[in-house]
Subunit: 443 residues, 4 copies
Amino acid sequence: MVPRYSRPEMAAIWSPEARYKIWFEIEALAAEAMGDLGTIPAEAAALIRAKGGPRAAAISDADLARIDEIERETRHDVIAFLTWLGEGIGPEARFMHQGLTSSDVLDTCLSVQLARAADLLLADLDALLAALKRRAIEHKLTPTIGRSHGIHAEPTTFGLKLAGHYAEFSRNRARLAVAREEIATCAISGAVGTFAAVDPKVEEFVAQKLGLAVEPVSTQVIPRDRHAAFFATLAVIASGIERLATEVRHLQRSEVREAEEYFHPGQKGSSAMPHKRNPVLSENLTGLARLVRGYALPALENVALWHERDISHSSVERVIGPDATIALDFALFRLTGMIDKLTVYPERMNANLESLGGVAHSQKVLLALTQAGLSREGAYRAVQRAAMATWTALGSDDARTFRDNLLLDAEVSEKFDAATIDQIIDPQRDFRHVDTIFQRVFG
Amino acid sequence: MVPRYSRPEMAAIWSPEARYKIWFEIEALAAEAMGDLGTIPAEAAALIRAKGGPRAAAISDADLARIDEIERETRHDVIAFLTWLGEGIGPEARFMHQGLTSSDVLDTCLSVQLARAADLLLADLDALLAALKRRAIEHKLTPTIGRSHGIHAEPTTFGLKLAGHYAEFSRNRARLAVAREEIATCAISGAVGTFAAVDPKVEEFVAQKLGLAVEPVSTQVIPRDRHAAFFATLAVIASGIERLATEVRHLQRSEVREAEEYFHPGQKGSSAMPHKRNPVLSENLTGLARLVRGYALPALENVALWHERDISHSSVERVIGPDATIALDFALFRLTGMIDKLTVYPERMNANLESLGGVAHSQKVLLALTQAGLSREGAYRAVQRAAMATWTALGSDDARTFRDNLLLDAEVSEKFDAATIDQIIDPQRDFRHVDTIFQRVFG
Amino acid sequence: MVPRYSRPEMAAIWSPEARYKIWFEIEALAAEAMGDLGTIPAEAAALIRAKGGPRAAAISDADLARIDEIERETRHDVIAFLTWLGEGIGPEARFMHQGLTSSDVLDTCLSVQLARAADLLLADLDALLAALKRRAIEHKLTPTIGRSHGIHAEPTTFGLKLAGHYAEFSRNRARLAVAREEIATCAISGAVGTFAAVDPKVEEFVAQKLGLAVEPVSTQVIPRDRHAAFFATLAVIASGIERLATEVRHLQRSEVREAEEYFHPGQKGSSAMPHKRNPVLSENLTGLARLVRGYALPALENVALWHERDISHSSVERVIGPDATIALDFALFRLTGMIDKLTVYPERMNANLESLGGVAHSQKVLLALTQAGLSREGAYRAVQRAAMATWTALGSDDARTFRDNLLLDAEVSEKFDAATIDQIIDPQRDFRHVDTIFQRVFG
Amino acid sequence: MVPRYSRPEMAAIWSPEARYKIWFEIEALAAEAMGDLGTIPAEAAALIRAKGGPRAAAISDADLARIDEIERETRHDVIAFLTWLGEGIGPEARFMHQGLTSSDVLDTCLSVQLARAADLLLADLDALLAALKRRAIEHKLTPTIGRSHGIHAEPTTFGLKLAGHYAEFSRNRARLAVAREEIATCAISGAVGTFAAVDPKVEEFVAQKLGLAVEPVSTQVIPRDRHAAFFATLAVIASGIERLATEVRHLQRSEVREAEEYFHPGQKGSSAMPHKRNPVLSENLTGLARLVRGYALPALENVALWHERDISHSSVERVIGPDATIALDFALFRLTGMIDKLTVYPERMNANLESLGGVAHSQKVLLALTQAGLSREGAYRAVQRAAMATWTALGSDDARTFRDNLLLDAEVSEKFDAATIDQIIDPQRDFRHVDTIFQRVFG
């Protein structure tokens, strides 16, 4: 991922140094288990740990270059690493990797990396949830117009909007927790997964030490449906980011101006137009969401490997492993900051709410008319008549509120007087159940 | 979905008749709840049930045409249905749909349909799992060559292959069960989800009667992350189908011929080549998997609806709702039949296993040599030497087995005599842990 | 595709009857070519045409059932058709399909169908282009605010907006014309494309009669990169539909109301809210665009068939062939009607244009200040100062226009008096080059 | 893109230095055009070129850091660059960027970068085409079995296989050439594309100097359907790479062994199994193809920007611009080397061709029987009988060739004697038209 969209902690998970440290740990733990089982000399295992540990911990640029050099010769990354590691261990190095296949190391390492990445993403989600909750409670009763189809519908509150996103990200958190468990498995099962040359107890030991589950049955590799489900989950989360970003982009539109991303002192909105304050963060998040969605596809295509494995998944994962997790980490962090500092304009929300002459209350009148004996169709026609009259004249000299148009309507005024209508369209009635919903969402 | 890939039970879920029955049920239940709450007359609710129930249950082609006719006038499907339904109920029909918005009906209906579809798919998966388990146990110890990169690796058993797919489909079953729960929610919350004109108790009542959970916070709609997660799960399952189908396609290759799809008496493989027996079922499954994967994308794009909802998701779901579930149901059923009847050729498996002169045993010799004191690199070179000599001469007059080439190698023969080598490469050693793996998978 | 999104002419291309007629035509033409070449008796070719032609032309439901019955036995669709056709021809039927393979018939038929579908889509695009051109010219100088990031930028005209979409759909038309040529090839080359049993002259003859090009080298099939490019082109076109639909959805927002989809007398916007007029057509188009995009993916995965072909592409194409072309045809037709009847509100455009106190003219002042000697940074700061003052006070009691705030600014007023500023921000200057652009687009 | 899959020449196109040099060139050319038109002093334009040119040409890490620093303050990348550039030019810097908007610079720069990237990719394709042509001609008449469904069909030649891929990559080259033209446009049209503050002649001048076409109508940006078509074309090419890679993977399978990727001295196929030689290049290419396909999706979603533009496309393009072109460049280069050095085993091809007892000749017998008077169905049954008998007994003691089984068949032997059958199944007949096909493909 380009540096612009990378945060250091997530990027570090995917560095060569981090990878090689995990590889060493897997090899050292496997040797220790084999030492315990007597498959290899226990002293050899101890020596691998004693000499290899510091070597792996202090891996330098020169070491990385040396490993690359060996790989250019052998064209095999794990052999290159083992050769380099062995150079610092001596003859006992031959007891490393006994009965293992490269994928045992590579796939278990990827599990560790994805689990760590998921942990960062879970923490990101927790921070986002906290920000959403705080702003939701702050604006629990801030009235704003609810919109369907981009058209004014009925009043809601800004807090309810945020509560909806909070609930969605809670679900996303739960999905990611499941996906993390799914991906956190360990396979040390040998060339085709039969444990022909390595005891299953080795796998159990390594898994336990690394905090992973044992892969019940591997081929040469950990099956890729786990990874597909993981990246598909990231795509669902990214789509949730896009939904919230789209909401903010809409609210910041010039004609709406109900909320605005924080505009830094010194910030310039446009090189040409000094008046501009643009929702660039949420637009950026929209694009990042598209990227993360795009990364799910090759992960899904990776599932159908040939026989006990082919290596077509590898190039995909070398790229989307870091790219998808780094982009999502960055996006969640950016979104959290954006929500945290979002400037909200309750007075603009109110102005918009009132701007269409009160037609947003049409349903309440419709229901009251049917209760008063009109057929649904008759009531609908009467209310639509008054609403359209209000709408059409908006801004003109003979503009009239929905309420007044209702009173002018023969069919309506036969049923209701002005006081009754005012009671029917009382906006407080709209928010009676906000507490119930908040209770459901925030407990 | 085209009839060729549709099974009646799944297709029936998506018929107009089924949809209208569910719509009626939602309206009737909502009316009953409102009758209990006193929002509308209890008698009206009873009448809606009494007159509307039989009308919805016996919906005819003429009724469908009448609803379409009203929709052409009103350009609104739910209003069209309600108008038609009301024609059979009379004036009390005005007490239907009080405080509801169309999406309350549409989205809750979609939840019911997707939950039913998921139940069929879960049953499909159970049948597939049973078939896989039966064949896995049957071939638990049928030796076959394991392959990585399409190249012979080490021996495994055909039962182990199937056990791996069983484990994957078990995970897929668990994923689908979660996705089904996620999608099975009910929203009866009004125009923008505030319950402004309908009591939350109505939602609770309808949800409970329909076996759904209550949607904690809806906007106008049930949030689409639920549906995105659902269709993404179908895509993961489809990819698992493709993996198993790809395995069968490989096994049936002319050069491999280790297994074959059942060939019906009377079946013709080719219009031009009478000798052909093609793996057409698994090829067909590969294509269906691509389709189901493709359907996940628009579902992911549906998440970011505008504000409290826009209706862009609707056309997508009218198509992929049926298409993805029907295609997956068909694919799972076809796959189950294919596995059930798969012709397995153990003798061909054995012939292939032996065909490369025994190089598949190279790792065991490598390990024994390192245990005997050679460095890993030295042992690797010695074994590769013998393996390459075997490989290169395959089929030629001076072909020699891997075992014999090992004995000819100075470095190897210095460590091991013929008897030791035979012990090292004894194939029985490969299957020592099959029981352990089967225990893990099948319990 | 569901009937709701199908138009009869496009759907007819994909009917079984249409397919069988094309199959017959291919077989009959091939037989005629072989008759000419003397490969089969010329009389047999004549008989195939004479007896088979009417049979294929008058194919009935009973015939379709009979073909299905034979297919259930043979599990091969082309053989089933040939058997049925032969039942009406007699012994000479054995001279049909000589040296052909099923794919010769299936793939050439698909080429004919896709070419016909493309012709309908090209006509759809022509109609859309005509509508866009008419409305663009009508509103060539209708001023409206241009928006970047959803924020007011500078004035443009509504005609220019439409001209941009016209230009995009012109490109889409050109792309589709190329894709149509790419897909319109004929292969009659036998089992693996070697012409082992059929003369290349047969292919040339059939191609020429059907208006197709000869496929230079086929395997058993026409290579699927052609189809992938075709469906990818449909996805690009669909994305263009989404762009225009998104524009209309924005313009119809309650706060914007610059344009509106035609609202039919009798139409109901909402079952609950009689005041609603929603941009349902453009929302629907947004969803259809997602579907068509989704169909491109399996087409891309279809390219990598195994060896001389596998049949995994077939199930994909049976579905996306009709679904993608029918959905796009429907979408283009709907979009054309929507543009044709779009209600445009120039007075609302003007009101919005003026609503931000004239900050949209900031760049012109910026440039004038730099021309007058200020540094770019200094000029930027001065103009941003006035713009932000205008923006912040919008709607408040001490609201002031951008022009007036500029005059109050010491640094600006030192350079310019009121008359100069009025000249600088004269809106007529914005439209000086509209003619140039229209000339470029419409010629 | 990760370094492992990056080649320096393509990566260089996307470096910050390269980008800033293009930005400068656009600004300098625009200033020169404005100097000629008298919009700004000609001396200022000369000074911008004289002082800015060397500054941009020698951009250092310290400069990059300085630009980043300004961007952190202004949060605007183009302003940051202009400020830094201006620091080296002096007061006349204020005449840069007059009437331009950032997108004029950014989008025109992206056009230059994508056009350069396309030029490299076209050169890659030329090299690949040359390699394919050379190997195709080399193996023009190397017999090999053609396979459909993975099952032996009829003989073809290895040269014909490669000719098919050559033809596909020729089409891909043509597609890329079109996509390159489409993307190579220049927009210098100001804030909303109206040329309100910049003369269209400036755009014409800059376009001409940069070798770009003029964008007929831009909004603020160059319309993104051009980029969508570009990245979709890369996806089609990538899928063609996958098809050829899949062919090689199949040919290298242990049971097939008809061709093999070059195995370097010193290369190690497996850390565990010294006998392994794996088709790792073509597997790698398969994964890279998935990545490039995945990048097309966000490009398609980028088309529907809001109004005159939103900036959601930007983050997408910052990533997929380099990633898709770099990955494809690497893949094409790798594929070319792989084809160039591919080890082909004609003797294995022949052995496989003969391995099924000659059933691959079944169609020729079928046709001869129908010519000899049998009905198609009767002939089919007779030939299938002999083919199945051959197939079933393969490898058993009573194995018999297809030819011999035909002679044993009463119905067949009534028509043909041994000599006739030998003539019918003469393999030379299969290759009669290879010249014709080569003529079509290579001219």
